[in-house]
């Protein structure tokens, strides 16, 4: 591959390219819907087939006989299993995830309330991972075999290997309990609770929009530690992949050509090699973001962060299966959706795939 392929013009006509893209997009859509059917089949099996008595699993053992009968019919347990699954699918399609025992509210509403906190946490963590991890990876590749490279590799491996919930606890011990640099668990100090009207549900944005800068500071102080801990994983993965992509590019002949032409080294690195790496990084960042949405489960438990992870784990302890499976489906859909999105973005940006 030479330099011109990265930004060069396409030889295929626009109409032809469009129809080829359409076929590819349709293929992706088909595989996504298959994945979705698989996901719902698994949650269906977990929720309705595996428990000895799925009704009991939903209403709890203190429910009256009438409630039991009502739920029994509501689930359609008198019908054959494939009808039950189709009913389950159509309920999901309407956004009906059942009712939570714990909060006595529809699971879908609960999740809408809890989700923004997770989104906020995972977004900031991913951004940290990108802005620290990418330069680290580039540095390691440029200095291959020397000590900056070794440091980056070790940091990456440790970030990969550390149990995230433990890392969070140690960070709380050091930065909150001992040094008192940041605020503790939760999203806000109690005195600030309920002052800002939740417009987006993302506290930083809500507080900034309301002009409540004191609350903004407090929210940020609560956010920074869990986001950094979650971001450690992102950083480890992103820096590792950046390093490997950069090494790959730097060994290409167009880099040699650029160097021979006398182009300054920083320009060779950032304008030539990194430009091509950036395209590959899109997929990696998408993967990271999706796995952080999931990875936040443990972080949220440690930091009492009221997101979807905490919702799922606290529902687990109350045997609230509707809530657990609803959360699983929502996270699963986000996971699949983000992967699809990054795949599409990659296709749009990289002319070789286009």
């Amino acid at each position: 591959m030479d330099d011109s392929t990265a930004s060069g013009p396409q030889s295929i006509g626009p109409g032809q390219a469009l129809s080829r893209n359409l076929v590819k997009v349709l293929g992706i859509v088909a595989s996504i819907s298959l994945t979705f059917i698989g996901l719902t089949a698994v949650t269906f099996v977990i929720g309705r087939v595996m428990p000895a008595d799925p009704v009991l699993a939903i209403v709890g053992d203190r429910a009256s006989n009438e409630v039991y009968q009502q739920v029994f019919l509501q689930l359609g347990l008198d019908k054959p299993i494939y009808i039950q699954y189709l009913r389950y699918l159509s309920q999901l399609a309407e956004g009906d995830l059942g009712t939570s025992i714990m909060t006595a509210q529809p699971v879908a509403e609960d999740i809408l309330r809890f989700f923004p906190a997770t989104l906020e946490l995972a977004t900031i963590a991913t951004l940290l991972g990108i802005f620290v991890g990418v330069p680290m990876g580039v540095l390691a590749a440029v200095q291959q075999g020397r000590w900056p490279d070794h440091i980056v590799r070790v940091v990456g491996l440790v970030g990969y290997s550390a149990p995230i919930f433990w890392l969070g606890m140690v960070a709380l011990l050091i930065f909150y309990a001992k040094l008192d640099w940041v605020a503790g668990p939760g999203r806000l100090d109690v005195i600030y609770d309920g002052i800002v009207e939740p417009a987006t549900g993302i506290l930083l944005i809500d507080a900034a929009m309301a002009g409540e800068w004191e609350i903004f500071d407090n929210a940020l102080s609560h956010l920074i530690l869990p986001a950094s801990i979650l971001g450690t994983f992102a950083l480890a993965y992103i820096s590792r992949m950046t390093r490997s992509f950069m090494l790959d590019q730097l060994s290409q002949e167009y880099i040699l050509t650029a160097r021979v032409k006398g182009i300054p080294e920083w320009k060779v690195i950032w304008n030539h090699a990194f430009r091509n790496v950036l395209v590959q990084l899109i997929t990696i960042i998408g993967l990271t973001y999706a796995s952080l949405l999931e990875g936040s489960v443990l972080t949220e438990t440690v930091f009492s962060w009221p997101g979807i992870g905490l919702y799922i784990t606290s529902s687990l302890f109350n045997n609230d299966m509707n809530a657990v499976l609803g959360g699983t489906i929502v996270v699963g859909v986000c996971f699949v959706g983000i992967n699809l999105l990054s795949d599409l973005l990659y296709r749009m940006v990289d002319p070789r795939v286009r």
């Binding site: 428990p51 699963g332 992967n339």
Partner: protein, 302 residues
Amino acid sequence: MSAELTLRGWLLAEIPKSKLQARCQRVFISWLSFRRNPIAMVGLLIVASLVGIAAMAPWITASDGLELHLANRLHAPGSEHWFGTDELGRDIFDRIIWGSRITLYIVGLVSIIVVPIGLLVGVVAGYLGGWVDTVLMRLTDIFLAFPRLILAMALVAALGPGLENAVLAIAVTTWSPFARIARAEALTIRNSEFILAARVQGVSTTGILIRHVTPLCMSSVIVRLTLDMAGIILTAAGLGFLGLGAQPPTPEWGAMISLGRQYLIDQWWVPTVPGIAILVVSLGFNLLGDGLRDVFDPKSGT
């Protein structure tokens, strides 16, 4: 000295004289290239120590890690209790040592379930091709697309908490990459001449799959397994931490962190030490896996 020289000579001979010699040579040459990688050697050392410690547990520890000594509650680390004692007066060092057996039990059991399933699905799909391939790979893709931890959590929630159920849940979410790898290998092997030769000789499809295709998939599967070990350990510890894995008083490291959490501020060692154990072991597997990949598959290693 001369015996070693001849052994070395035998291992490095230009032309192997027997099947056994050829096999030993391959292992030895891989070992020579592995040995040059210091990071991988550190990984090997950690993993070997883990196995050694688990095997020697009864001789290393003074207690079984389960006995309560309420008079000895929450002792700080010192000469008597190297890693201190926990909220029930149990020696944390002893519990960590016994816990290494549980860690090995988990990764061993997951591997025993996951590798045969992955190999079976992947080899059959890759070798037979056609609609079998399409169906099996769609299935694999579905499992690949799942968020693993959350699915494992939901599964354990339905099965009921416990070590075996946690292992099962992890296995359900871990087998798919192995199927992918085995399929890729089977695809490249399928059209080789030695497979054709075996087929002409009348070896059945099952025979070809088991005796000719599967052995060639093993090296990439083992590399991937080593790299996945860390993930398996971390997921198991996470499930233990959430109270879904091994139940107290089992000295599973994740469950130990979870129980020690309330003592974090004043008796930091109770939850901290098991975390270090998890970190070291999963780091060891990651380093070892990286090294193995460099040896067996130098192209993808970085």
